[in-house]
Symmetry: C2
Subunit: 470 residues, 2 copies
């Protein structure tokens, strides 16, 4: 009798099999906190092969973990430690099937690298606005399965909002072709929504039709020191009014973040004349001079009334990239400066100042020596509200606070009607949080969906939904 | 023993009961094609009352038809003719619970009239972009349950895209409070998506958190005669490029539509110097002079290369409203000119010219005397591709072609990977179409969702999903 591994090897062929010596990158969690085992790792090259792999696994009663670029931050894309699961990598399905500039769409396979798709859009003078730190290695199928966020959500929405159609291999191996390229289609339930953000637990996304946008020319970019978080949220509102809603980026960085990015990283310099408690990186993604004028006029009046205290406006692309590099350096700088207790939380934009005040107080109270490094997507109400290891404390001693700190921060945001996982998802890391914070009626609906679309529990069973307690 | 009607009357109180003599508006289809009966009509005033009504109906084994403004076009919000169903109107739940200008959100109850919400947003200098013909009487709960479209989808998306959170009474009477006001929240399946566009078959939406936008000041508006449909789609692309994606409206009207709107309606005059085969109403919703300049510059170059042949740019608000009135008069003008065989179809924007050519040819072939009146949301690929009764043919003789014409038009759009119901939904009118055109795997998933969330078939059972054939 053929083993499941041999059956799957026959389906995907030699090029689709990953040997034991090459398996490490597939089995390790991105942040190095976890290493799984797998019965085998397969890399099908077509939707049909994915379907055949799923069918074979269902017949054998073996569960599957689908994997894209494996860049997620909640350990949602690696197999468990039993060695009994199949890891299904989409990385060989990387064809751009169609680009339609007049329809502002592209049809792409799940394994395409995000940055390659950004380039493919640029090549026809279009913008694919999804943009995030891992874009050089993350895959679009993973981005869609986790409803990825990033630095342009404010204007263009999350990954979910960029999808017009999907092709999905269902949990029983059937293929659903929902690859529509339509802006409007009200013919029944919008089934694609089930799979977007579902972390591979309800079906395996194999291809998608993505929305494209006009490409902003010469975006206007600035870094400003704001008088307070309140002044920052008001500045955002003024900029939106002045531009008709064209602010594409409004990123917050507290003083420690800017200082850290400058001091820990080669080549960065502080673009402002000092370090300030509250700094924002702003970009207006319109066309030509109009956006620059709107930016400058708004900043001038914000100076006059004291809401900002310092600012630098990029005068060319080199300066713009230098400003962005400060923001983009922060995660790596934090790593170099020490271990981090991390959070990915959101509240209503109007409550970000309150979150910053209460969250900082809370962190200072729990670990007085810790360094509060808060940054992120203020325009979306989403902060990476991290606490970094102080020089005075050994790594292990510091990290021993993690559970208590996470819990307190999540309690705080939930008490503010916020989210304990704004853009990173649940994976295995935050399953307990989901169980703790989700209303029973909500967990019940989620379980009903899982039961409806994956009744055998074939797909990524350890991810997202907590096991039933009964 | 108390009857169900008396139980429900006790729950909603006298003000929540509708007497037989007042029942007509609740039981008649908007287009007058259908009149239902009801066991009773109740108008609960709170989420708790809705929940208690649903619970009582479930206990009695009686099904419920939820109703908003009853302005839908596919007979999806009236009870059937058995007189055994309960009609649940949300019209008394019409409170704006909260407006948060800094978060660009408002929290509203399902029975709020759309136009009242537009005004409430304007009052805090914000835009609620959902805009459609029935806005003076449709209710937001109905808009969300049908994923309404309208004339600004191009820039702001469909109703689904405007929702951050929902409160829903489930099919078993439990209340789900998903009223989050967050731009980013990846904590489990995005359950609100299940209820948006589900036409009241999976739950009853009782409240929602809606996204608001900066209010465009002095939008730039023009009506232009385009050389061809191809020239129109290219003009749209050029305008998007010139404005950085600020085109909020790009509405197509064929010659008969403009002529009809002018000749059948008092007060309208043709703003262009002649009637042309292809006309577009364009609006750029930015701020101040920049959008006007972008519009004028683009139109000038389109004149020079022959893609447009005539144009008028509104110089003030009065002129702008006159241009909009032409477009908005079309449905009523069509009614005055005779009976209509109507379609609400969409294709990729890049294929609209092909649809216009093939669709016109098809209609001319099927009913050579008929008057083709095609108009609608070209920027979304969505046309109301109607055939109007000619003077030479009696109404009944003309309408006897309806079934055959509908079928042929729907076959055409589906052969072009389009949609046979772009914005109006399925209701009871298009259930057969859904059964005909949806893949079995897709119908199967829809049935699985219905089974998961409304296993007793309590909510709007005659709507959307075709009865199982087995």
């Amino acid at each position: 009798m053929m083993t499941l591994s041999s059956k799957l090897a026959a389906i995907v062929g030699p090029a689709g099999c990953v040997s034991v010596e090459d398996s490490a990158p597939y089995l390790q969690d991105r942040r190095g906190r976890f290493e799984g085992k797998a019965l085998c790792i397969v890399r099908p090259s077509s939707t049909q092969e994915v379907a055949r792999v799923v069918t074979a696994c269902v017949e054998a009663g073996v569960s599957i973990v689908p994997q894209g670029g494996n860049t997620g931050l909640v350990t949602g894309s690696v197999t468990d430690t039993t060695g009994e699961q199949v890891l299904l990598s989409l990385s060989r399905m990387n064809i751009v099937r169609e680009v339609d500039p007049l329809n502002f769409t592209m049809t792409v396979e799940a394994g395409c690298i995000l940055q390659d798709l950004q380039t493919a859009a640029e090549n026809v003078d279009r913008l694919l606005p999804l943009s995030l730190a891992a874009q050089g290695s993350c895959q679009i199928g993973g981005n869609l399965s986790t409803n990825a966020g990033g630095v342009q959500v404010l204007r263009y929405g999350n990954a979910r909002d960029l999808v017009l159609g999907l092709e999905v291999v269902l949990a029983d191996g059937r293929i659903w072709n929902g690859l529509r390229a339509l802006r409007k289609d009200n013919t029944g339930y919008d089934l694609k929504q089930c799979f977007l953000g579902a972390e591979g637990t309800l079906g395996i996304i194999t291809a998608a039709v993505l929305k494209l946008f006009p490409r902003p020319v010469d975006p206007a970019c600035a870094m400003v020191a704001v008088a307070s978080p309140e002044a920052a949220t008001k500045l955002l509102t003024r900029l939106q009014g002045a531009t008709g809603g064209l602010v594409s980026t409004f990123e917050y960085m507290n003083g420690e973040c800017v200082r850290g990015a400058v001091e820990a990283m080669d080549g960065n310099r502080n673009p402002l004349s000092d370090y300030y408690p509250h700094t924002a990186l702003i970009e207006i993604g319109a066309t030509g001079e109009a956006s620059m004028r709107a930016l400058e006029t708004t900043l001038e009046s914000a100076f006059e009334d004291g809401s900002i205290t310092d600012a630098v406006v990029a005068q060319n692309e080199t300066q713009r990239q230098a400003l962005w590099r400060i923001r983009e350096s922060i995660p790596e700088a934090q790593g170099r400066l020490g271990a981090g207790i991390k959070h990915d939380v959101s509240v209503a934009v109007s409550r970000v100042p309150e979150l910053l005040a209460r969250g900082s107080e809370l962190l200072n109270e729990l670990v007085p020596e810790g360094i509060v490094m808060a940054f992120g997507h203020m325009g979306d109400g989403n902060l990476h509200f991290n606490l970094n290891q102080p020089g005075s404390m050994p790594r292990d001693a510091f990290m021993s606070h993690a559970g208590r700190v996470n819990r307190a921060m999540h309690d705080l945001v939930m008490s503010m009607d916020g989210s304990f996982s704004a853009e990173h998802g649940i994976g295995t890391i935050k399953r307990d949080d989901l169980e703790r914070y989700a209303e029973p009626v909500e967990l019940g609906m989620m379980r009903a969906l899982k039961q409806a679309l994956d009744p055998m529990g074939t797909l990524n069973p350890q991810v997202m939904l907590p096991p039933k307690s009964d």
